[in-house]
Symmetry: C2
Subunit: 315 residues, 2 copies
């Protein structure tokens, strides 16, 4: 099963978190590049842990272009047990937990002062608490009521920004001994970037090429996720269009034709345009915040360039 984790880590993914972890360290003046690279594996393993569990929760069948872990085990056990569905989920829970423990272990063993490490380990726990809180909001609130824009941004803050952008940057910075002010500067940069990253991801989820994204198209719609894109389309749609969206939202048996219709509505209402413009605005905000920060000029310029590449990698 550790082999599963190894394969899962090695087949790819965007590596945004370890990259930000690395540059967060450099921003705060860290110089031990070998040690921070080694330590950055911890955040990637924690990411794998949460992805493996998320894939169970969201019933996803593909991840990084391959079967998700629980699906792989379901297929394996199908040959030997009638209880294969449950066994696959059980394997996914355990393998996720192993990835989590390995992620923590790597950080405890990393080559940094103990005082920085305990601070980073505390931060790591808080990041996980945040992303699980975001997951609760995401999965369970949507059963309750249509989300307001404010709620959508709150979910993004917990589920994406804290975890994928702000968290990794701050973890790296903490390992370089960054002070509160420096951590705050990174937050100010991370918040608009995280929002841009998520909205861009939502756009790709509806209009992207599954061959490139590694995820089935329309997945958010099928799972009933209320992204900014979908919520904006509903807001701008006429009665008939709104009904079409509502009928498809959360329908696991969504047809290609239905998906096509919803896409058309998203374009026609201007929701796509609105979201694309929002991404551009947020990216510029993030760059401006980094420009004004106290980071070393070389790293600052690099992070400003990185903004485009993070969003571009998503394109």
């Amino acid at each position: 099963m550790t082999q599963d984790i190894k394969n899962f880590v090695l087949i790819g993914g965007k590596r945004i978190r370890p990259i930000l972890f690395y540059y967060g360290y450099l921003t705060a003046g860290g110089r031990n590049k070998k040690s921070i690279l080694d330590a950055s594996l911890s955040i990637e393993l924690i990411h794998d842990y949460l992805l493996i569990h998320d894939d169970i929760i969201d019933r996803d069948e593909l991840r990084r272009g391959r079967p998700t872990i629980h699906k792989r085990y379901q297929k394996f056990y199908q040959k030997i047990s009638i209880d294969y569905e449950h066994l696959g989920i059980s394997a996914g829970i355990i393998i996720g937990n192993l990835a989590s423990a390995f992620g923590y272990e790597i950080l405890t063993e990393s080559n940094f002062p103990d005082s920085f490490k305990t601070k980073a380990l505390k931060k790591l726990s808080q990041i996980i608490i945040g992303v699980q809180a975001g997951e609760i909001l995401d999965v369970f609130l949507r059963l309750d009521h249509p989300l307001k824009e404010k709620e959508i941004f709150k979910i993004i803050k917990y589920k994406t920004t804290g975890y994928s952008i702000e968290g990794p940057l701050q973890l790296g910075a903490i390992l370089a001994g960054a002070n509160q002010k420096a951590l705050k500067d990174l937050s100010n940069f991370a918040l608009p970037l995280g929002n841009a990253f998520q909205i861009q991801d939502d756009i790709l989820g509806m209009f992207g090429d599954p061959g490139e994204t590694g995820k089935p198209v329309g997945g958010d719609l099928r799972e009933g996720k209320q992204t900014l894109l979908i919520s904006k389309a509903k807001e701008l749609a006429n009665k008939k269009e709104k009904k079409i969206i509502e009928r498809t939202l959360g329908n696991p048996r969504l047809t290609k034709n239905q998906l096509k219709k919803v896409r058309k509505i998203i374009v026609k209402t201007g929701a796509l345009d609105f979201c694309q413009k929002t991404v551009t605005k947020l990216i510029n905000q993030a760059k401006q915040k980094m420009e004004n920060s106290k980071s070393p000029p070389k790293i600052k310029n690099f992070l400003i360039l990185l903004v485009d590449s993070i969003i571009e990698k998503e394109k």
Copy 2:
């Protein structure tokens, strides 16, 4: 959902792990009783994390005399969604992960030197890796073949001893700055105690009062767990008796009458007697090891007394 964790922690359980965590600290000469008590909550939360996930994996419906977390949420969602079974499991996965992150966080925040804390956090991760490895052996090996006695003791070592006895003792000792020799002494004491604890637990699982144990009687049999008790009975049984055991092992629809028959076989073959004698032998071994250790006499005597109370609490 944090309320769920609070309720789950507060409704009881034997608290063996925080107690051993506390006395592990005292054994190694620690004196800050207030801080070690606070820190001991971490191991209890990690225990809750793994219990909540285990209950999903084992499909347990009762824990500490109340519905398990995923069952509770399944009941809750039954009113509002046809997908309630999956939603309950999802809630259990997330709530378990939250308990884990809280457990780690508490340890990072505890009032001990950073160098001791990072060592303890590393050990904690290794304990979790061990228990998940034990869970893999336990759940997946038994699908493959009947376990040999050696394999059963290996599973006990990972799944019970490392996690419930040795781990908590060593974690506490590490927070007092214990050296390798002191940690090894604790291992020597923990190994027979862990074996005794697990075998006693297996006996209770077949013959105990569910009102006292909080678990449904015969659960191990229903789940197909190959405990020493069941494996010994199979070894000592005649052909007809062996067939009865094999037919009931792993049968989720086990009847009261079938359970009664298997119990009779366990008594008649002498498997129960064998296991009870093994528990007594192991308890004496553990006491002897503690007697010969270098721990302070007062703590040593206390831990020797604790052995009986750990096993007695199980009675």
